[in-house]
């Protein structure tokens, strides 16, 4: 493991994001004009591993294969089409200004920086806004059936945190259609033999040789065999770590293990505390629940959020004595419209979630638990008619009705915030390269573009920007120096050691033979996260969380029970490996949240708020991305800081009121 140390200790105190020189609007063009390229005959001799087949992974794998690289693509599900990007509903942003409402690349950049509460890197966000338009063109060319107007041109809708309509959509299934577009491009390359697909495989470690990522260790989920794979570069697009909370809108297989593997090999884990609690999810129904369901933010275009104005009405509703429709207009508190007149129901997600929590904590919540608010479409139905509402949101209304057994055309939906997306992730520089050479991280898995809060319809934009238009360029700047490197043997000692470490971990887990199921421990961790590291955080609570997570870790490693065999299909073992890492991430999240003595975006420290209860940043002391560096098992990680220098935008208190 001595080599691992070498790779990380070089720049241990200074973090260099390697941002190109020049004015903001010219950085990306300058970079592309001067970067190194790889010629076609050399591309064929270079192997690239891409872990993940979501929007970022599939688009990167397809684009690099089209260019001529030899790509190995790993997929945890049975097919690349199942990646959780598929569940994104509302839309994708782009600065096309098709609606002639004043949009521009700069405005999309500015809204994203502001939405992220001035905690993202200016240069990356500007590039994101710059390539956004190309994404729409690319997807249309692939046959993505975006919604159109009667004249045949593309339609747009609005999303939170913006005053323009820049969101492109395909019914309430935009993520599905974009993913199927990337999947079809990927499938074309698989058919040609340019991409080798490994489905039902899970990455279990990254292999680092002489300070460079040279492959991965992966488990075949059907046979249970551990296998080794070499590549000249490794790209991880494995998604976010929201399932640390057990209950979230993430898919059941979504996990943060690839991030923990990279972190333990020396890549920095940046801003782990920045997690997005989404305001519009279907409320929790009982203690047997496995998963929470999101209701798209696009619903806030036409739905109005309210709770009863009077506590006695809220109490009567909770007791089942009154219904939402019994309350007269004057007895309803449209609290977002009241507090944020300029943005109303379309405030950013962090603001909307906190406002819902505030009302429910104050005793105005509805539903039998009191942990719900109404999302009401009666105004829109009266104004537009039921058919128009159905054509816009039909599939979402149907989904709601199947789960809750109530008809949202007749009675308001009930919603409550839930864990949804993680802005934090593995630290990457301008080239999307981690602090380990040759190891790249894309999509939700990296920390790059959303700062402390992500705006709606920007996750799809970032995933595809990274995969189609950024990584396929920047990775060449690295690979251009690797053309002399032959395909290395997977018998090298570094592969040997990495596989042994994985096998030892699995053997240790299987040998515990305790009394608790994996899920029961994961659920316990999730409750700690929700209670102490959720929407409202404070010093005392975070310290409690750190103590409690220690207890959970001890319980897990001494009392978990995993049935079955290790070299076999074993779902409980898969889950156990992931939960072991969720425990590590949970601790990092709490640690990061405790360190950050300010409120910004999705990170709300109750001690730091304005008199009106808004997030209060501290730019003096905390205008940095926190980068946590692994310091060995049992040791506290080291905190490194990437200073966020704002050259072009003036930081201010976020204002959605006027």
């Amino acid at each position: 493991m001595a080599k691992k140390q070498e790779s990380t200790s070089v720049e241990s105190t200074k973090i260099d994001a390697r941002i190109p020189e020049g004015p903001l609007a010219e950085k990306w063009s300058n970079y592309k004009a001067h970067q190194k390229l790889v010629n076609p005959s050399n591309k064929r001799r270079l192997d690239v591993i891409v872990v993940g087949t979501g929007l970022a992974g599939a688009s990167a794998a397809a684009s690099m294969a089209e260019m001529g690289f030899n790509v190995l693509n790993f997929c945890i599900q049975d097919s690349p089409r199942r990646a959780h990007s598929i569940a994104a509903q509302g839309g994708i942003n782009a600065a096309k200004n098709y609606q002639n409402d004043g949009d521009s690349v700069y405005r999309l950049f500015y809204d994203t920086i502001k939405g992220g509460d001035y905690r993202a890197r200016e240069s990356n966000v500007y590039r994101l806004a710059e390539v956004s338009n190309g994404i729409i063109d690319q997807c249309v060319a692939q046959g993505v059936p975006f919604a159109r107007e009667y004249g045949g041109l593309l339609d747009n809708r609005s999303f939170g945190g913006a005053q323009v309509s820049r969101t492109f959509y395909a019914k309430g299934q935009t993520g599905q259609q974009l993913l199927l577009g990337a999947y079809s491009a990927l499938s074309r390359q698989i058919g040609k033999g340019a991409v080798k697909l490994y489905s039902r495989y899970e990455m279990l470690d990254v292999v680092v040789i002489d300070g460079r990522a040279r492959g991965i260790i992966a488990r075949n989920l059907i046979s249970g065999k551990i296998e080794r794979f070499f590549a000249h570069a490794v790209v991880v697009g494995s998604g976010g770590y929201g399932n640390t909370f057990f209950l979230s809108t993430n898919a059941m297989n979504s996990n943060g293990s690839a991030l923990v593997q990279m972190y333990k090999k020396g890549a920095y884990f940046a801003n782990p505390a920045y997690a997005q609690i989404h305001p519009t999810c279907i409320p929790v129904h009982g203690d047997k629940q496995s998963k929470l369901t999101l209701m798209s933010e696009s619903l806030r275009n036409d739905g109005r959020i309210w709770v009863p104005k009077k506590k006695e009405d809220a109490e009567a509703i909770r007791a089942g004595k009154k219904k939402a429709t019994d309350l007269a207009e004057g007895d309803r508190d449209y609290y977002l419209e009241r507090r944020y007149p300029a943005f109303g129901n379309l405030v950013p997600r962090d603001v909307a979630s906190r406002a819902a929590k505030e009302r429910c904590d104050a005793g105005f919540g509805v539903g039998n638990t009191g942990l719900a608010v109404y999302l009401d479409f009666s105004d829109a139905i009266n104004r537009l008619g039921e058919n128009v509402v159905r054509s816009r949101y039909g599939n979402l209304f149907q989904m709601y009705e199947k789960i809750v057994d109530e008809n949202p055309y007749h009675t308001p939906m009930m919603i409550y915030p839930a864990m949804h997306y993680t802005m934090g992730g593995i630290w990457v520089d301008y080239e999307l390269q981690t602090s380990i050479k040759g190891l790249f991280c894309i999509g939700e898995a990296n920390f790059s573009d959303h700062g402390a809060n992500r705006l709606g319809a920007s996750a799809l934009m970032q995933g595809l920007a990274d995969g189609y238009f950024v990584l396929p360029y920047t990775i060449q700047n690295y690979l251009a120096d690797q053309i002399q490197v032959p395909r290395l043997s997977t018998e090298l000692p570094e592969f040997e050691e990495a596989e042994k470490a994985v096998n030892d971990k699995i053997k240790k887990l299987m040998s515990i033979q305790g009394k608790r199921t994996v899920d029961s421990i994961h659920r316990e961790l999730g409750l700690i996260m929700w209670d102490f590291v959720g929407m409202g955080r404070n010093k005392e609570g975070l310290e409690t969380a750190l103590e409690k997570i220690k207890v959970v870790r001890k319980e897990f490693w001494s009392n978990v029970y995993i049935p079955g065999k290790e070299v076999d299909l074993n779902n409980e073992l898969e889950k156990a490996l992931r939960v072991a890492d969720f425990i590590e991430i949970g601790e990092l999240m709490a640690r990061d949240a405790l360190m950050r003595e300010e409120s910004c975006g999705g990170h709300f420290r109750e001690e730091y708020q304005t008199p009106e209860g808004e997030a209060l940043r501290n730019d003096e002391d905390f205008a940095f991305a926190s980068c946590w560096k692994f310091a060995g098992e049992g040791n506290d990680p080291e905190l490194l800081k990437e200073e966020l220098v704002y050259e072009f935008v003036h930081r201010q208190q976020r204002n959605y009121k006027s």
């Binding site: 397809a62 049975d78 299934q173 259609q177 898919a251 129904h285 047997k288 057994d405």
Partner: protein, 251 residues
């Protein structure tokens, strides 16, 4: 309103494709009617693990009806008795107290069983790899608004594109045909000007791959449409046939 019911589950257990399977009986008491079918299976698995028994292997992921991974045959119907949903969206309120529920994997020659309720649907991926795409590389494409597409065509393409690739159509078909799956993709891309260029070639390649992989022929029984969780219409099969005939005439 939430209440709880007791049910008896008759579940197909099979260690691998080569080992003979059989039904096992499990009793589940006090199941909340607000639970989804998969949450009920989670609960059963939790019990089995606590009894140191092998949990039931089943495919699932997004749990909101869009990834297409869940794939159970429940009481003789793919995705169970409720309409327009996947198994993960099926709720226990659709079952009666005391009911016996039979759960099997997809039964189709082209989808071999991996274990218990898990099957191998990679055949669907192979069909897409054979031609279910528009041949464009990243970059160098025209502006998204360069070609106007009528709202009617875009909407119809969207309906076809709603397919989640779950395999219910082939599992429901007495011939084990994948025609609805293939037709949905062929139709989506044939309806759009950018996909029109390759439309007949695409149909030919995808149908040839479907035949090669052991899927049966279509005899228009309509079971696929009735069981499709996304309501994909068999009218797309007519469009596939048209494109396929065009391709044959050109040959």
């Amino acid at each position: 309103m939430e209440k709880s019911i007791n049910v008896t589950l008759k579940i197909w257990r099979q260690a691998s494709a080569k080992i003979k399977g059989k039904f096992e009986i499990y009793k589940m008491d006090n199941v909340s009617t607000d639970s989804s079918f998969l949450e009920m299976i989670d609960e059963l698995n939790e019990q089995l693990v606590n009894e140191h028994k092998e949990p039931i292997a089943f495919d699932h992921d997004c749990r909101e009806g869009i990834c297409g991974m869940c794939s159970m045959y429940i009481n003789g119907q793919p995705h169970g008795p409720d309409g327009e949903i996947t198994t993960c969206q099926l709720h226990m309120r659709n079952f009666k107290d005391g009911e016996t529920i039979t759960v099997e994997p997809w039964r189709s020659a082209a989808f071999p069983v991996i274990r218990d309720l898990m099957v191998d649907r990679s055949a669907y991926d192979k069909i897409i790899q054979a031609g279910g795409f528009i041949s464009v590389n990243t970059g160098g494409v025209p502006d998204g608004n360069a070609i106007a597409i009528s709202k009617v065509a875009a909407d119809e393409a969207m309906d076809a594109a709603s397919c989640i690739g779950c395999g219910a159509c082939a599992a429901a078909c007495k011939n084990g045909s994948a025609m609805l799956f293939v037709a949905a993709k062929v139709s989506q891309l044939a309806l759009l000007p950018q996909g029109k260029v390759e439309a007949s070639h695409r149909a030919k390649m995808m149908v040839a791959k479907m035949d090669e992989l052991g899927f049966g022929n279509c005899t228009n029984t309509g079971a696929c449409e009735a069981e499709c969780p996304k309501n994909v219409s068999i009218s797309h099969i007519a469009r596939l046939n048209r494109e396929y005939l065009c391709a044959k005439f050109k040959d």
